[in-house]
Symmetry: C2
Subunit: 343 residues, 2 copies
Amino acid sequence: MNLKQLSESLGLSQTTVSRALNGYPEVSEATRQRVQDAAHRHNYRPNTRARSLATGRAHMIGHVIPISTRHEMMNPVFSDFIAGAGEAYAKAGYDMTLSIVPDDAEDATYRSLAQKKTVDGIVIHGPRANERRIKLLQDLDLPFVVHGRASAEDSDYSWVDVNNRRAFSRATELLLDLGHRRIALINGLEDMDFAIRRRQGYEKALRERGLDPDPELGASDEMTEHYGYDTARRMLAGDTPPTAFLVSSLISAIGVRRAIEESDLKMGRDVSVITHDDELSYLGNGKDVPIFTATRSSVREAGRIAASTLLELIEDPARTPRHHLLEAELMLGRSTGPAPQES
Amino acid sequence: MNLKQLSESLGLSQTTVSRALNGYPEVSEATRQRVQDAAHRHNYRPNTRARSLATGRAHMIGHVIPISTRHEMMNPVFSDFIAGAGEAYAKAGYDMTLSIVPDDAEDATYRSLAQKKTVDGIVIHGPRANERRIKLLQDLDLPFVVHGRASAEDSDYSWVDVNNRRAFSRATELLLDLGHRRIALINGLEDMDFAIRRRQGYEKALRERGLDPDPELGASDEMTEHYGYDTARRMLAGDTPPTAFLVSSLISAIGVRRAIEESDLKMGRDVSVITHDDELSYLGNGKDVPIFTATRSSVREAGRIAASTLLELIEDPARTPRHHLLEAELMLGRSTGPAPQES
DNA sequence: TTACGTTTCCAAAGCGCTTTGACACCTCTC
DNA sequence: GAGAGGTGTCAAAGCGCTTTGGAAACGTAA
């Protein structure tokens, strides 16, 4: 059933039916009722293709995910973000498209989405410190929101981010307060902006106590379980092993725990661990008492906020960029304790 | 730049330009070259909205994910499937939409996608044994592929699935061969078809050796880390604890391992574990030697296969339903060993 | 020369919706 | 009772593309 058939069956023009359904004031309440009833009865829903051609609005938001051997974007953190954003879209009657593309085709994909007019806006994931996509989208004149920030970018743009620096300096301070002096940082890839900020927080806290970060105790890579395991294993086997780990992802933290246990040590007693916890729906950090002491911030919530910020931007293009800085909570769990006494 | 402008700039009609770009034979090679060059130079790309209105094809595949407090679909397994499917779509010039909807609105979402003509086809995720969505989509006349199967459905439809029954009976047999007699099954929700089949495989293997499955050693729930931990903890604390666990998901297996270690037992020596491993890109099961002995089958590959099957179905609607049964490999890792001697 | 295929191109219709501009019709007001 | 103002409705244009049904241009054969 399309608009034409519906209007014929009602003996009204397409104009009137369209107006009645879209809430325009030019139709009488009586006709509106009649039209709505009929539409509901026939289960009528306007053809999106035609509607967006006519209105110029696709009611569709794009997310593009580069895929490469080196850096895997399609991770649990990402999918929780998507879940949050998706909720917000669905509520507002928007759809979401995911484009999974080889990372050398990423720019082309943004251009193409803009040219083909498939989406009304875009969310940028995983910004680098120096993020060329921001300029690209500004040039393409496509509304966008960044999940994270780009330190080296000085134009104004909308973003939603966690206060990574503060979170990691607080976590480091806690470990210092517990007497730890050799604190390892198991970080994400350090071309990613969030990883840079976390390192800054970590180093700031150390320096404020007169400590210099030991390069031996820093690692940076894709945050898999295996990376956490390998790195922790190696560090623990060193001459002056760390007494505490600060980890950028719960997934890697699970690997760190495995390494600690296989080294016949006990987490929380011999070695302390603090991890960042995105509150993933699947990889919950324990139930009542957290397994890991953690800097916690729901990435799903970030997704919701990013999505609704973007929708506002689309509804009102004149609106100036908006920024949301989320503070992470520092949750005490069972993975931290006083530094073991030198023996 | 749109078609009209492009054709004007070339001094050709829109028809000719359109044909030249879409590879129709009615244009001379010379004009085609000229047109393609110009299109490339102006970075022209046809407006999707207009194109799909004209052709009746959206070049878009829908995935709908119900969201509920009870059952969380947006899990790492799902996102790896999506990543695989997305690759296939991108290669074929298709886009993918994700609809995240409350689970009581799921049927309405399918109807709406069909009515609004937003997508050309749909992938059904997480089928139950008795799956009403199959009938629904058949009625809506929308091409679809199921990731998994529905035991109680007897109409013919396209699906991609792992041989869950075989995988779990082989895994059970391995444990039996190692001398284990008390084998626990930590399964997914048993209204899900895959969980039912896995249980069938498990029970079949036990019965063939004259053993009856012990209801005390069976559990069924959403496969979180915490569920694995809790269940294993409880079972290990029982009067006659299991000597081996068969787990439906790597995520829960991680919880099982945590429970084993906290019970001061050693996995692979005191207690054996076999898990199903979807080859998630993030939660790799070790690197060289697997951490867990596992039934392995790449869910990402399943996504690729499902997507291309669906695309074939769309290109040629007359095609009969297609089925892909993937066999899981049984990978030996470090989590299994001979059953400890009764003492 | 005419007739007839081929090749190459085009004008116009159509996809299903929104929106503009106009037109009846009614109700007030002076 | 005429003009002003409001209300409810409609015909038609337009969104940007594809595709149908010609038609001109150009051989080639009779």
